[in-house]
């Protein structure tokens, strides 16, 4: 007996099932895409490229508030094979009444590590005393235009100053939500002295005379400097004047165990893991959301079967076996489930993009990047199929 050609399921009733599967898939997609987007964006915050390591303060509770001796940058620069390094001073600020992160940089060094495209105006130089460049997102959000002069207040210290917008840049990274200024501006607003930066990024892995600089080479230099204890705190350490560096240069003592050296992505992941946030845990949370809503999907299937009890009983009395009826229901409802799952995923992505456009998808003042993760899509379809199959095969038919 073949039932495939026999259309006994009413479309209006199937629509209710499609609706609940679509809404559940949408909820799963929104949860998974946003959580994984946050994780991905945060991990890539200091650079995704291989060979970028970060020298940071182990004792800091956040990646934005640590302090490391800035003179280490010059010692590391002296290692043969290290070509690029960037000391950075992060300062959480208030600008036009909105929270924003200001990153103090040495522009020449920074642009070697991070690819920025200046959309309007120009890039700052270290001697641009009261200038900044704004990331595209922050410029749009706060209505910053070229040559605007704005008041920036640091929140970790009672400092505020006027900065003029020299340019607007785009990097297609979370940096688009930040403003960049010369490093000493970051130090003032952070409340740090000229001897400290929040972190130092170093590009390693460059081969010189058959030898590649590794993380251990950098660690060795840091350990040597720590044991040297160059001078009492804050005293000038006879550093040679370097070209272009206009702020006072100081060497201070530090303990090697306070300084961490990690790959950029591991460094950021390390902070997330301190709070139990891993890619796996976020994915598990998203799956839990789907399974919690799956009870409603199972209910949807039961309702479809209850609504067609009359038709199914007639088919049973005509000789259709339970197995045949279940197989037929599965064959007829599965495509609807897959379609609903697809609609839900697409709607989830569209909703997230809309939320992002409205500026509501931000964590720590950085826009969460949204990307259609193939794993999430595959999981969504798999769960929808699995749930449909289990519910129909376990239900009482006829």
């Amino acid at each position: 007996m073949r039932l495939l050609g026999f259309r006994y399921l009413r479309r209006q009733r199937v629509a209710a099932l499609v609706m609940i599967v679509a809404f559940s898939s949408m909820l799963f997609s929104i949860t998974a895409f946003s959580l994984l987007g946050f994780y991905r964006g945060f991990s890539a915050y200091l650079g995704e490229g291989e060979g970028i390591i970060v020298i940071y303060d182990r004792n800091s509770r956040t990646p934005f508030t640590g302090l490391v001796p800035i003179y280490l940058a010059e010692r590391i620069r002296a290692i043969s094979g290290v070509r690029t390094m960037s000391p950075e001073a992060m300062a959480p600020c208030i600008l036009k009444g909105e929270s924003v992160f200001l990153r103090g940089i040495v522009p020449e060094d920074f642009s070697k590590l991070s690819q920025l495209t200046v959309m309007e105006g120009g890039m700052i130089g270290l001697e641009d005393l009261n200038f900044m460049v704004a990331g595209r997102n922050v410029a749009e959000r706060l209505g910053l235009n070229l040559d605007d002069k704005v008041l920036v207040s640091g929140i970790l210290t009672g400092r505020c100053l006027d900065l003029r917008v020299k340019g607007v840049f785009v990097s297609h990274t979370p940096m688009d939500d930040e403003i960049l200024a010369p490093i000493y501006v970051g130090q003032w607003l952070r409340g740090a002295d000229y001897a400290h930066a929040t972190l130092i990024r170093v590009k390693i892995g460059i081969e010189v005379e058959g030898k590649t600089v590794s993380r251990s080479d950098v660690s060795r230099v840091v350990a040597e400097e720590a044991s040297r204890q160059p001078s009492p705190h804050g005293e000038e350490a006879g550093l040679e004047p370097s070209q272009g560096l206009i702020m006072p240069r100081m060497a201070i003592g530090f303990r090697a165990e306070d300084i961490g050296i990690e790959e950029a992505s591991s460094f950021m992941r390390g902070y997330l893991e301190r709070y139990g946030v891993t890619r796996e845990s976020l994915l598990t949370l998203s799956i839990a959301v789907f399974f919690f809503s799956s009870f409603s999907i199972a209910l949807g299937y039961k309702v479809i079967i209850a609504q067609h009890r009359g038709e199914l009983d007639v088919l049973r009395s005509l000789g259709a076996s339970r197995r045949l009826l279940k197989a037929d229901l599965l064959a007829k409802l599965l495509p609807w489930s897959i379609m609903a799952s697809f609609i839900g995923t697409a709607a989830g992505l569209a909703t997230l993009n809309m939320i992002q456009e409205w500026g509501y998808l931000r964590v720590l003042s950085h826009t969460v990047p949204i990307r259609a993760d193939p794993l999430v899509i595959a999981l969504n379809f798999s769960f929808a199929i699995l749930l449909s199959a289990i519910t129909i095969l376990k239900s009482e038919v006829g």
Binding site: T62, I94, N130, S153, C160, P248, F292, K302, V303, R362
Partner: protein
């Protein structure tokens, strides 16, 4: 009759699974809320570790920058007369062009009545002395290095076509924004800008130990309408905005959860009507009005969604707390203690019930508009 009918509906086999379906959806929401509450609480606690004692600024109301601001200079002496004010320093800050060998460069000039007192307050070190007359100036170390300015140099400043030569009598390091500024006396500002009687800002500091709320309200009474008082260190506002960003997303995300609740409620009421069609049609045949049938369906949905949401809040909160405890077993460094507030419980229950009612309306209305004789018995 209606209470009996409701009892028979509630005793139907699908009620328990309907309650569980709603409870699980609400559990998703309340667990997310409880975890977010803890994260926001931690952020606030972290913010409290930072000492917030920065000075206050008085700026003109519409100014977006210090350079744009104009405040009556006489206000400073009135403020200084208040017992709660430790000091009130009027400052004139403006942009001028500095003639250098490589051309003109824009710099900020800060002019004060007492340059020495200002440098002492910001803990500056100085090589040389502080300006003592209108043609003298001090220069910040960063500015001095950037434009190769030395002690004893005569700098030519240009503002609005007016040229003035200032002698550099001191180079200072304060590790503040003043290191990139030229520091001069207020007389110099009058000479350069020709403006008298107005300043850019008045920086004030409160006496130690005074109640800041009371002090600020005292100060506010003295301020004219066109000026505003801002705290330089706005940590509280920053943390509030950080938390608001998370909550804004959570609120939008919860709309998706309530949409699933509404869809689930649609399914639940459809199932109820399919399974209890006989009883409801019988009621109609016995003379029950449409309104009674609608009330019965709505009451059933309200009851199911209320029990489901209360159960869901409990399940979600307890579940997230259990999850946090288990996480601590595997990752001892993780410190997570989710909690939920009473108003959130009430809000969740209220919104769940509202979404459920919304979801059940269409099947309920469709059911009562079909004549009882058309319904299968």
């Amino acid at each position: 009759m209606s209470s009996l009918a409701l009892k028979s509906l509630l005793r139907s086999s699908g009620t328990a699974s309907s309650i569980v379906a709603i409870a699980l959806l609400v559990a998703i929401l309340s667990s997310a809320q409880s975890i977010t509450n803890y994260i926001n609480f931690q952020a606030e606690m972290l913010g409290k570790l930072v000492y917030v004692g920065g000075p206050y600024l008085i700026l003109s109301g519409n100014a977006t920058s210090i350079a744009d601001s104009r405040v009556d200079a006489g206000l400073a002496s009135k403020l200084a007369g208040l017992s709660c004010v430790r000091w009130a320093v009027p400052q004139r800050i403006f942009e001028a062009e500095l003639e250098t060998s490589s051309g003109r460069r824009a710099i900020d000039v800060r002019c004060l009545e007492d340059a020495r007192g200002f440098l002492e307050r910001i803990g500056a070190y100085i090589n040389g002395t502080t300006p003592g007359s209108w043609f003298e100036a001090g220069v910040g170390e960063v500015l001095a290095r950037a434009y190769d300015v030395n002690l004893g140099d005569k700098l030519e400043l240009v503002i609005g076509g007016k040229h003035v030569k200032l002698k550099i009598v001191g180079i200072f390091r304060s590790q503040t924004e003043s290191d990139a500024e030229l520091l001069a006396l207020m007389e110099t500002a009058h000479m350069l800008t020709g403006e008298n009687g107005t300043v850019s800002i008045i920086e004030i500091s409160l006496q130690p130990g005074v109640n800041s709320q009371e002090a600020l309200s005292q100060i506010a009474q003295l301020l004219p309408e066109n000026v505003r008082l801002v705290q330089t260190q706005q940590l509280k506002e920053f943390m509030q905005q950080m938390n608001a960003q998370t909550l804004a997303f959570l609120n939008l995300w919860s709309i998706a959860v309530y949409a699933v609740v509404a869809a689930a409620s649609y399914i639940i009421s459809t199932r109820l009507l399919a399974e209890s069609s006989y009883e409801l049609s019988m009621l109609r045949a016995l003379g029950a009005e449409k309104r009674l049938i609608l009330t019965l369906i709505l009451t059933y949905t309200l009851t199911v969604s209320f029990i489901g949401s209360a159960l869901g809040v409990a399940l979600g909160t307890a579940g997230s707390q259990t999850f946090a405890t288990m996480l601590r077993w595997f990752l001892p460094s993780v410190d997570l203690a989710p909690f939920i507030e009473l108003w959130q419980v009430l809000q969740t229950i209220g919104l769940t019930v509202a979404s459920s009612v919304l979801g059940c309306l269409y099947p309920a209305l469709r059911f009562i508009h079909v004549g009882f004789m058309e319904k299968p018995l």
